[in-house]
Point group: C2
Chain length 378, copies 2
């Protein structure tokens, strides 16, 4: 398994990103991912009951189409809480892309990120699509990365190659994050492309497992988004013997988890206003779910996060957060080890003496800059 800290599109994929005018800043805001060969898709969406319009459309397309060929993503507007008009806009966006690409509308998935509750300017998207499609290229992924950013300060990308039988299979993932990041819902936007040949069932299983240990183990501000999506497209261009189980699936799942975890960590490193990257290890828990919930209870404690920002070691706030997690943890069962707060990377280890399971959760500190960014965001 070889990891490259840059996105390199697997065989058969193309991408592009342009500025169509949704962002007042004039920065790129419309991205397209395209697979020449129709690809199998697996996806995880937000569990928020208020779901953005493009997610409703994408869920429908994932059900009705056997294969997916394109993903259209805009930043600058989440197209959420926009009612029936928003739903029509999302459908129209998919339709414009499908027409230009000469493929079926339900082979196009759509996604949006940005402010919630404002109508999307669909005309700008329509006008941008010809340029977006004509500029598609095998080296266009960096343009796409930039076009899905909102308050992100750097693009999040990774590639990974692994051997399946006699063939080399490639994975490439990009993500955006920054704020409204809370776990248990496949957080933020993440698009993974692979040329692996794999069954639909195996792909779904691998994605669920990977997301559980990565995007569901991070939290910036405990706020669950309405647009979160992690999507993987597999176009089988690598020509490997089909992955359906056994060691091949194990290897592929490991690679997919690696891609997801690296991207999830990048999202936390780029958390709005953050000055610290915090790793919370909870050990000797009864099971993984218990360990993760306790780690997240700490990760979502505003008081713990401000203490880390202030470089002020405060074990009491960790203990209070553990105790409020809903599990009956007794004081004498609890050991807390907090690393130096002077480093940019902070490690906290909580040992419970209740069992053998553990979980690692990643979070950031809470800073005045986070408040400044979100007090002004509009």
């Amino acid at each position: 398994m070889k990891k490259i800290l840059k996105a390199i599109l697997p065989a058969g994929f193309k991408a592009n990103g342009i500025a169509c005018g949704l962002k007042k800043s004039g920065k790129p805001d419309l991205a397209l991912l395209y697979s020449e060969i129709p690809a199998l898709a697996a996806a995880k969406f937000t569990t928020n009951s208020i779901i953005a319009a493009p997610l409703i459309v994408s869920q429908k397309h994932l059900k009705s189409a056997k294969k997916i060929q394109a993903v259209l993503v805009n930043s600058g507007n989440a197209n959420c809480f926009t009612g029936k008009a928003g739903l029509k806009d999302a459908q129209a966006a998919a339709g414009y892309a499908a027409r230009e690409l000469k493929i079926a509308r339900n082979a196009v998935l759509v996604n949006s990120t940005g402010i919630i509750g404002k109508r999307l300017d669909i005309t700008k998207i329509k006008q941008g699509i010809p340029e977006l499609v004509s500029g598609l290229s095998a080296s266009g992924i960096q343009k796409a990365e930039k076009a899905i950013m909102t308050t992100d300060t750097f693009a999040k990308e990774i590639s990974l190659n692994l051997r399946i039988g006699s063939k080399v299979v490639h994975l490439c993932g990009i993500a955006k994050g920054a704020g409204m990041i809370a776990p248990d819902m496949a957080t933020m936007l993440c698009f993974i492309m692979t040329d692996a040949k794999i069954t639909k069932q195996a792909l779904g299983k691998a994605l669920s497992a990977a997301v559980d240990k990565s995007f569901n183990c991070i939290s910036v501000d405990g706020c669950m988004s309405t647009n979160d999506t992690v999507l993987v497209l597999a176009n089988a261009a690598a020509g490997n013997s089909v992955i359906s189980g056994g060691k091949d699936l194990e290897d592929f799942s490991g690679a997919l988890e690696c891609v997801c975890l690296d991207l999830a960590k990048m999202v936390v490193k780029d958390a709005e206003g953050a000055t610290k990257f915090i790793q919370i290890d909870v050990c000797q828990a009864k099971d993984f779910q218990e360990a993760r919930k306790i780690a997240l209870s700490i990760a979502n404690s505003a008081l713990f996060k401000t203490a880390v920002f202030g470089q002020n070691p405060n074990f009491g706030r960790v203990a209070a957060a553990v105790g409020s997690s809903g599990f009956k943890i007794k004081e004498d069962q609890l050991k807390i080890k907090l690393g130096s707060l002077k480093q940019k990377q902070v490690k906290l280890k909580v040992t419970l003496s209740r069992g053998k399971a553990s979980a690692t959760v990643y979070t950031s500190d809470l800073t005045p800059e986070y408040i400044k960014i979100n007090a002004q965001y509009n």
Copy 2:
């Protein structure tokens, strides 16, 4: 029912507050509440599984003693996460007060508030107790109020008189709050004294109902404390016919709820770093619990709170918080009405069209000052 925005001790109660040296600032840090007549007590404590030592001692005393005569409270140190040594300190503190007051040790309740995880300086408390006891007076409640404050910027006090049969019954409550305030656990410290004659069962029932609609309906930072206590002492000095049910209990419960709600609102108004007092009304819910949970989901959204701080109306963040509350609220079931953010008092009304129940929750905005206070707190 007559409300007075000042604490006036009911018949038979005395109080005092002094500086015994626990706070480096030299500010008052040791308070004593005393009833000449042994009083019935009802209490609600934190549901955090990490419980401060004084709460463990107080819970024991509440079980073993039929009546309570004194409450000793220190600020500057929470005596929590301090192990067996901390437990001995709390027991010793109760013992010193009992000896000086010439009452049984289990007639004394103890409470602490301040930093978690540091050993209490019990010698300073021991040395302070003679002065504390000798200074007890019927007009000493304002001194006690000041001695239980931590980051509070004003003392929280209220009195209320109501008629029960032919007698006037008095209630008086004081509270401290400021940070680590989250609901569903009888938040922060609150002491209520009444000269009402009431059965133990009726007192407990009235307190549970009052706390549910008051302290369990506020949130500053979503962080559950380890020391939260709401305590009511009833010494029967008013000589009313005993309250055990019916209209008398309804009236007394209403008065107790009024005291709790007013103090709870004061806690939110004095929230660390807050510039806004936010009232969230959730209407047309299926039941009170659903309405309250949804209101709290909004109240605990860092993004909603920063938007209010920035005077930046953002309906999307309200919708996202509602959708993440765990109830299957659909977009077309949801109406959001947000009042002007330019005022110090902000009103948010969320209408669900799911039923007839409603709940009101109070919270504050999230500001850079909150982070400053908590980054430096130690």
